[in-house]
């Protein structure tokens, strides 16, 4: 029974009087508390996998149907920004991992530094995403709000992209399907950004708590679990990046 945490009663009795303040009343040992919350976090991430899973399924089918539209749509995303942002997010994952390490080894200032860095990188990511979205707005690529297929029936209308990829004009029926691409693009990156915003808010909260010494007293559960969440959001992006940006970059 590898996962059985059936409490060893002696341990429970022994530690009973010296509960650390952060131990909740209904747990017998701190190990049990850590295990339980960690497991809960993993289960939560499972729900997230399935949540994005639905989106990925929709994406996959639409991409197969409207491949040319998806290719040309993707040419209007900036590969520079996309790659940069992937780097930013990976770096923030790294700083987060280091933050967890600092908490585990009880380095308070290191932890705060890492959390702040993660926070800053998260904001940078969102800013870049914002710049990209703004670009799409300017190009009239926001479905439902100001969409225009101009760039796809007449690729030369955007000389920059045209110079790079020499896209042929799409048929009128295929050109309107680029809206499908951008719809999914906004749905997926938007949902991802939403998760980032939630994460960043929690980071702020954590930075304040960390300054009060909350996570460097041996009780790292919260930092650990938040780390899992942050890395998970990173993983989603790791898949979004090739799927949305790198469909076909060779002219």
């Amino acid at each position: 029974m590898s996962d059985s945490t059936a409490i060893d009663n002696n341990v429970a009795a022994a530690t009973h009087l010296e509960h650390p303040p952060y131990q909740r009343h209904h747990f017998e040992t701190i190990a049990q508390q850590f295990d339980a919350t960690n497991f809960a976090m993993w289960l939560f991430l499972l729900t997230e996998i399935m949540f994005f899973g639905g989106l990925f399924t929709a994406y996959l089918i639409m991409r197969n149907w409207y491949y040319p539209a998806f290719v040309e749509g993707s040419h209007y995303l900036s590969i520079v920004w996309g790659t940069t942002n992937t780097g930013v997010l990976i770096t923030s994952s790294f700083t987060m991992a280091m933050g967890v390490w600092c908490a585990e080894t009880r380095r308070k200032s290191g932890l705060i530094l890492c959390l702040v860095l993660t926070f800053v990188l998260g904001i940078v990511f969102l800013c870049i995403k914002g710049i990209e979205w703004h670009g799409e707005w300017v190009e009239h690529h926001v479905p439902g709000l100001n969409y225009s297929v101009q760039n796809f029936v007449n690729p030369a209308s955007n000389p920059e992209v045209y110079a790079e990829y020499h896209d042929k004009p799409l048929g009128a029926d295929m050109a309107v399907r680029t809206e499908e691409y951008f719809f999914l693009y906004f749905a997926m990156t938007g949902m991802h950004a939403l998760h980032m915003i939630v994460g960043i808010s929690i980071l702020v909260f954590m930075i304040f708590r960390a300054r009060a010494g909350a996570y460097t007293n041996g009780h790292v559960t919260f930092v650990e679990n938040f780390g899992l969440y942050w890395h998970f959001v990173d993983i989603i992006w790791i898949f979004l990046f090739p799927l949305l940006y790198l469909i076909s970059r060779h002219g």
Binding site: M1, S2, D3, S4, T5, A6, I7, D8, V11, T29, I30, A31, F34, D35, N38, F39, W42, L43, L45, L46, I49, M50, G53, G54, F56, T57, L60, I61, N64, I79, T83, T86, G87, I90, T91, S93, F94, M96, A97, M98, W101, E104, T105, G227, L228, H231, F232, D234, I235, I238, F239, F241, P242, L243, Y245, L246, I247, S248, R249, H250
Partner: protein
């Protein structure tokens, strides 16, 4: 019950983190570069393969799954299993719709 006295889990060393971090950056560069090479259907295969490798690195090391209990591994596996079930069985319908028509 195997280790009731060892609540402290494995602490991954910063060196490992750093190594993973750099591999991730390299793989990112690689995937971007690969997308500029014409490989026909293999473009998407390569891109996804690299993404899977990157994701595995993050999961195994940043998320400590490599050092975690069987339960964590099983949990993750079951999630992936159901997700892949959703994907493959839905796609199976789409793909086989044209069957029997040729």
């Amino acid at each position: 019950m195997s280790e009731p006295h060892a609540p402290e889990h494995h602490i991954v060393s910063p060196k490992v983190y750093l190594a993973i971090f750099f591999s991730l950056l390299v793989l990112t560069a690689l995937t971007t570069a690969a997308s500029f090479v014409e490989m026909y259907v293999f473009n998407v295969v390569v891109a996804l393969a690299i993404a899977v490798v990157k994701a595995s690195l993050v999961v195994l090391f940043f998320m400590h799954v490599k050092y975690s209990s069987k339960l964590t591994k099983l949990t993750l596996a079951s999630g992936l299993f159901v997700f892949l079930g959703l994907l493959t069985m839905t796609l199976a319908d789409y793909i086989s719709r044209a069957w029997g028509r040729w």
